[in-house]
C-alpha cells in the first residue's frame, strides 16, 4: 500500500528527513510516534503528495507521490487534528458537501453520523458543536467516500473516555473492513492498542519499527514489585523470570508477610524513551 525507499527531504540545505525506508502493508494500522518537530508531519505531507521536492521514492497506492494527479485523493481519507468544516452549515450539510467532491460512491451520511453518536445533532450548525463533537464529525468526514487508505492525526484528542473508546472501536472496525490506516499520535496507549506496527521517529529518522508487543518485549522483561511491613512499608522488585532466586521474596511468602505483589511490563512510552532518549512532547 505504501512503500518508501531512501526518502530524503529538506526545507533548507540541511536534510530534515534522512534516508527513510519502510513499507506499510495493506490492511494494517501503522503508527507514527515521535515528539513535535520529529518529521512526522513532513513525512505525512510527502505521502499526501504535498511536498514533491523529495529525493528517493515514496509510493502510495501504486503512485509516486510527486507525480500524483487529483484522482490520487479519491482513495485517501484524511482526518486532521483540527476541524475543517464550514461553521455555518449543519453537520449533515458539511458531509454532503465534502462527499460531493469525490467521484466514488459515498457512504450513507446518516449511518456515519449514527456511528459516532451524532444522529440527534445532524441538523445542528457546526459552530454550535463542542470540541469533541467536531472531532467525531471530522473523523467521519474522512470516511465519507469510503477510502482505502486513512491518515488519522490524533483521532482521540479532546475526547472523553467513552467517545475515545467509541472512536478506537470504529478504527478497528474500519481495519476489519480492509482499510489501511496511518495513525499519528502522542498517545502511547492508543498506539499500543490500535497499531499493528509503530515507527519511532526522531530527527527525521526512524529509530525503531516493529509491533508494539515486540518492542516492549525486546527491551525489557516484566518485573514483579512487592511490599511488606518492616518498621514501615518497604518495597522491592525483581525480574519475573528470576523470581525463584529472590530469597527475600520467598521468605516473605513463607512468612505470609507480603502486603502487595504485582507484575508490571514496561510501557511503549518507556521503550520510546529508552530507544530514542526523547520524551513525546
Amino acid at each position: 500500500m505504501i512503500k518508501v525507499n531512501n526518502l530524503t527531504f529538506s526545507y533548507t540545505k540541511k536534510s530534515f528527513i534522512r534516508d527513510l525506508s519502510f513499507s506499510v502493508f495493506e490492511g494494517e494500522i501503522f503508527g507514527f510516534l515521535g515528539p513535535s518537530g520529529a518529521g512526522k508531519s513532513t513525512l505525512q505531507k510527502i505521502l499526501l503528495g504535498m511536498l514533491p521536492g523529495y529525493q528517493g521514492s515514496a509510493i502510495v497506492n501504486g503512485t509516486e507521490c510527486r507525480e500524483h494527479k487529483s484522482d490520487f485523493y479519491e482513495s485517501i481519507g484524511v482526518d486532521f487534528e483540527f476541524s475543517t468544516m464550514y461553521d455555518k452549515l449543519s453537520a449533515k450539510e458539511n458531509l454532503l458537501f465534502f462527499s460531493s467532491l469525490y467521484g466514488r460512491k459515498s457512504r450513507s451520511v446518516d449511518e456515519l453520523l449514527r456511528m459516532v453518536g451524532l444522529e440527534n445533532d445532524t441538523d445542528k450548525r457546526v459552530s454550535d458543536y463542542s470540541k469533541g463533537m467536531k472531532s467525531r464529525l471530522n473523523f467521519i468526514k474522512a470516511l465519507v467516500h469510503d477510502p482505502k487508505l486513512l491518515f488519522l492525526d490524533e483521532p482521540t484528542s479532546g475526547l472523553d473516555p467513552t467517545n475515545s473508546r467509541l472512536m478506537k472501536d470504529i478504527i478497528l472496525e474500519e481495519k476489519k473492513r480492509g482499510k489501511t490506516i496511518l495513525l499519528t499520535t502522542h498517545n502511547m496507549q492508543d498506539a499500543a492498542e490500535l497499531c499493528d506496527r509503530v515507527a519511532f521517529i526522531v530527527g527525521g529518522q526512524i529509530f525503531a519499527l516493529d509491533s508494539p508487543h515486540n518492542l516492549i518485549m525486546s527491551k525489557g522483561a516484566a518485573k514483579v514489585s512487592y511490599t511488606w511491613n518492616d518498621n514501615g512499608e518497604q518495597t522491592a522488585s525483581c525480574p519475573l523470570d528470576r523470581l525463584s532466586e529472590d530469597k527475600l521474596l520467598n521468605k516473605l511468602i513463607a512468612e505470609n508477610r507480603l502486603l502487595s505483589i504485582h507484575s508490571s511490563e514496561p510501557t511503549l512510552n518507556d521503550i520510546f524513551i529508552e530507544i530514542t532518549g526523547r520524551t513525546l512532547v
Binding site: S41, K45, M50, S70, Y73, E74, S83, K88, F98, L101
Partner: protein
C-alpha cells in the same frame, strides 16, 4: 458533475451568509435611486453603480469568502481532496458572478439601457477580473484589515480611470485600458476591440496568478499542521 455541484454549493454558502438577501435589498435601493434621477443622468449613473458594485463585488466578497474558508481551515481539506485548483477558482468566480449578472440586468432594465446583452457581457468580464483579483489577494493575506488595505490601490487604478472615461475625461488611447473597455460595455456603447484583446490577455494572466496563489495557499494551509 463535481463542478456543477460545486457551483450549487457555493451558491448555497452565499445564500447562507446572506449575500442574496443583501443584494436583493441593494438592488431595490439602487433601482429606486436610479428612478429618482433625471433622465439624462440615468444611464451613466447606472453604469457607475453596476461597475462599482455588482461587477466589482468579487473583489470584496471573494476576499471575505476565501478568508472565511482559511479561518475555518476548509482549504486544508481541499488540498487533500480530488478538487482541483481550477475547479475551485471557476466555481467561486461563476457562482459569485451569477448574482452580479442578475443585479446588473435589473439595473440595466430599470434605465432602459441601449444594449442589455452588452451590459451583461461587460459586467461578466469585469466581474471575473475583479473576482480573480480578490482571490489572488485573499490567498496571500491573513486578516480582513490586510485585505482592505490591499484593495485600495486596486480600487484607485480601476475605478478612477473608468469613471473619468465614462465622462470622456480620458485621452483616446485609454480606450484600450481594460477597466475602460468594461465601462464602455456596461454603458452599452461601442468599445475598443484592441482593448478587448488586452482585457482577455489580462484575464489569462490573472487566472494564472490566481492558480499559483491558490496552489500555494493549499500547499501551505494543508500541510501547516497535519
Amino acid at each position: 458533475m463535481r463542478f456543477c455541484n460545486l457551483i450549487l454549493w457555493d451558491m448555497k454558502f452565499q445564500a447562507r451568509y446572506g449575500f442574496y438577501l443583501l443584494y436583493g435589498f441593494l438592488t431595490l435601493l439602487y433601482a429606486a435611486l436610479l428612478f429618482s434621477f433625471p433622465e439624462a443622468w440615468k444611464e451613466k449613473a447606472a453604469a457607475i453603480l453596476i461597475f462599482s458594485d455588482p461587477a466589482a463585488m468579487g473583489l470584496f466578497f471573494m476576499g471575505a469568502v476565501v478568508l472565511l474558508e482559511k479561518s475555518q481551515r476548509v482549504t486544508s481539506f481541499f488540498a487533500v481532496s480530488p478538487l482541483s485548483v481550477i475547479e475551485y477558482i471557476w466555481s467561486k468566480t461563476l457562482a459569485l458572478n451569477i448574482i452580479a449578472l442578475v443585479v446588473a440586468a435589473v439595473l440595466a432594465v430599470s434605465v432602459n439601457s441601449r444594449s442589455i446583452s452588452l451590459v451583461l457581457l461587460g459586467t461578466f468580464l469585469s466581474g471575473i477580473l475583479f473576482t480573480l483579483l480578490g482571490i489572488i489577494i485573499a490567498a496571500k493575506i491573513k486578516s480582513l484589515n490586510q485585505f482592505i488595505l490591499a484593495t485600495v490601490p486596486i480600487e484607485i487604478i480601476t475605478f478612477v480611470p473608468a469613471v473619468l472615461h465614462l465622462f470622456g475625461a480620458t485621452p483616446e488611447f485609454m480606450r484600450i485600458y481594460p477597466a475602460n473597455v468594461c465601462m464602455d460595455m456596461i454603458c452599452g456603447r461601442e468599445f475598443s476591440v484592441v482593448g478587448l484583446f488586452f482585457t482577455a490577455a489580462l484575464l489569462v494572466i490573472f487566472f494564472y496568478a490566481a492558480y499559483r496563489s491558490v496552489s500555494k495557499m493549499w500547499q501551505c494551509e494543508g500541510g501547516e499542521k497535519l
